[in-house]
Symmetry: C2
Subunit: 405 residues, 2 copies
């Protein structure tokens, strides 16, 4: 008898009929002789409905109360799923964050799980129940409701799998796995059978929205084998596991892209110590996250150009702020560009292969796609390019690294 954690997203529980479909997937595992813990998100659209209610009160609603509000979405889902399982003739019991409890730090709207007590769930399993857990929510040590941020139910599932020492954690979603790249952009994209935690982390942080970033971190930390699979089709998905468990590792595993990027250059920044700290300190104070930063070598020894990227939503706010800062530090000008995107190649195989970045640059150059900025890590290379070339770049790179093979 294995213990399996299943997680179903909002689309999968979006209607009463779909909840019945989820129940059938759960029951299938029970009939195979397994114990099952199901983690569910709010019904599709429900979280947005609640956020919209709050925004009618206050554009920036008080965060403690925001968490009280939005956590009701998952509460509705667990009740409906448990009822459905019981109606179908199975024992089921729902659990909210406080009933487990799932403890988090006290950072409302983006809390981190600090501890999960396994006893109450274990008891319910021992009594023959299918355990239905509300994703996305926990409580802090004072008993306040906290939520984990968008996509947090993935993290709930992985953390529960770790706390209960589950044999597997299946993340059911509306796509049927992780692809070499977005199939909408590149029809040759192929489903990846196995991908390492490290690569999946890069995927998640580079804008591919398959899994919540922190859920992958958790899975890596506690070595939980994840499977990303479809709620609607009955086929194998993509396994996320340790690098060592993947026999044939290609040099490049996949291509990610992110159009939600904008670029800001500060021209002729005085080349003095502490200037970068001053600029990026002020930007951070306004809660704007900066992704890539490039600083050229100072030509005249007195001034340098500084370029960085932010998300498109932060662009206007960042431009206004940077113009002020530029005046303050005596820079010459500030130039912005919203029409850029980031294209990245990812693969742990890069570590042992040289020339991977060169191959990328060459493939882009062949199509006359100009590279505006470059950023690299051990297992990825990202290039900022003109936004209109995004799809072309993805297809060219997919071919260059033979990902359809």
């Amino acid at each position: 008898m294995a213990l399996i954690v299943q997680k179903f997203g909002g689309t999968s529980v979006g209607t009463i009929e779909r909840i019945a479909n989820v129940a059938n997937k759960v029951i299938k595992e029970v009939k195979n002789g397994n114990q099952v813990i199901v983690v569910v998100s709010a019904m599709a659209g429900e979280t947005d409905r609640l956020i919209n209610l709050a925004k009618q009160v206050d554009e920036l609603p008080f965060e403690r109360e925001m968490d009280v509000l939005v956590s009701t979405g998952e509460q509705v889902s667990i009740a409906l799923l448990a009822m459905t399982l019981i109606k179908m003739g199975y024992k089921a019991k729902s659990f909210l964050g406080f009933q487990i409890p799932i403890y988090t730090d006290g950072v409302f709207t983006k809390a981190r799980i600090t501890e999960i007590e396994p006893d109450n769930i274990q008891k319910a399993l021992n009594e023959g129940n299918i355990v239905v857990v509300a994703g996305f929510q926990g409580i802090d040590r004072e008993g306040n409701i906290t939520t984990l941020g968008r996509g947090g139910s993935d993290t709930t599932a992985v953390a529960i799998a770790a706390a209960l020492n589950a044999d597997r954690c299946d993340i059911y979603t509306d796509v049927d796995g992780v692809y070499t790249t977005d199939p909408n952009v590149c029809p040759k994209a192929k489903k990846i059978k196995k991908i390492s935690y490290e690569e999946m982390l890069e995927y998640a942080s580079l804008g591919a929205k398959v899994l919540h970033l922190r859920s992958v971190e958790f899975a890596q930390k506690y070595n939980i084998k994840l499977q990303v699979r479809s709620s609607f089709k009955d086929e194998e998905g993509t396994i996320v596991c340790k690098e060592e468990e993947i026999m044939e590792q290609p040099v490049v595993t996949g291509i990610a892209y992110d159009k939600n990027q904008a670029k800001i250059s500060i021209i002729k920044v005085p080349d003095k110590p502490g200037i970068a700290a001053k600029i990026f300190g002020k930007i951070a104070d306004e809660n704007i996250s900066v992704d890539m930063i490039v600083q050229n070598i100072s030509e005249d020894g007195k001034s340098t150009d500084l370029t960085f990227t932010v998300t498109k939503n932060d662009f206007k706010k960042a431009m206004d702020l940077v113009k002020e800062i530029a005046k303050d530090i005596g820079a010459e000008d500030v130039v912005g560009d919203e029409n850029i995107s980031k294209v990245s190649i990812i693969g742990v195989g890069m570590r042992s292969h040289s020339g991977v970045a060169a191959k990328m640059f060459e493939a882009l150059a062949k199509e006359n796609i100009n590279i505006q900025m470059i950023s690299t890590s051990e297992i990825k290379v990202s290039c900022i390019i003109d936004e209109k070339y995004t799809e072309l770049a993805v297809r060219v790179l997919h071919d260059a690294f033979e990902l359809d093979k």
Copy 2:
């Protein structure tokens, strides 16, 4: 500085605008130098929406999960009200049943409050917060969510007032007080200034839906002064208090009526010990509540006629059941009538005045309204009459007892 509990029903918090109106009423008390605890219901229509979702899963949904589901309604309300108060510049903190905690027995969907721990609320008040409490919900000793049944938020408010030793408990609703009778039926109906707990209990049990029955029992037990008043008008409502605090007590305080009544007669029931117990035992087993029961004196010493009333919704089920029972015990026939209603006069003054019932019968007789059944208690007289005379009877009795004076 007084401590005031305010309770607002679903209509009062039905939209974001109305929640702002509630916030203003709360702030008014704060500006008067008082501490305030606000208890709120789910937004109008929300509980029905949730029940409808559950019914799509199962006509009789599993009750533990039903409580998990419907308790989200109040959770949404407290979050939105607390946000609104904060947006308006006041400190506010919401509390769910488990966060206080409000302990109940373990009877899902109709739990009773057994204990309220005052410490967490007291602490929040001491820290200068307006405390916003979810009505209708609590937890049992195992941490399961339990709800108190329709109208249960009234009871939450009164129980909180008792636990925190509040100076006043104001129940804001969509009517502006308790009336001598339904103003839609009798335009001469007058708002009652003060009414005793006993009378209010009769009102609640006789079909006037102003206050939840158990909330009045609680108020009486802990001697909490209640005020029923309008959410939408700024005027005094009706005080519900001890009989001794009402100076001028009229003989009859008000007239109630209930059209949701049906009558079943079993003809020629063998006059033997244990027969009534058998009949009503079986009816109770089916969860049908019986209101009035009348049994005539046995004429021939062998058989008697037995008549009782049920609600109209239970009528068909009860008739089918009683026909079976009648066959079983050898009764002659079963006759049903759905076209009846109950009209009642209520008043603690009856205790010290004779001739009140006679005056009622006389007033009805004058209009040729036939009385089919009579039931009395110390402080009320109820008559079953033909349904079509209900409104006439109410007006006639209102005049006879000079309730417009």
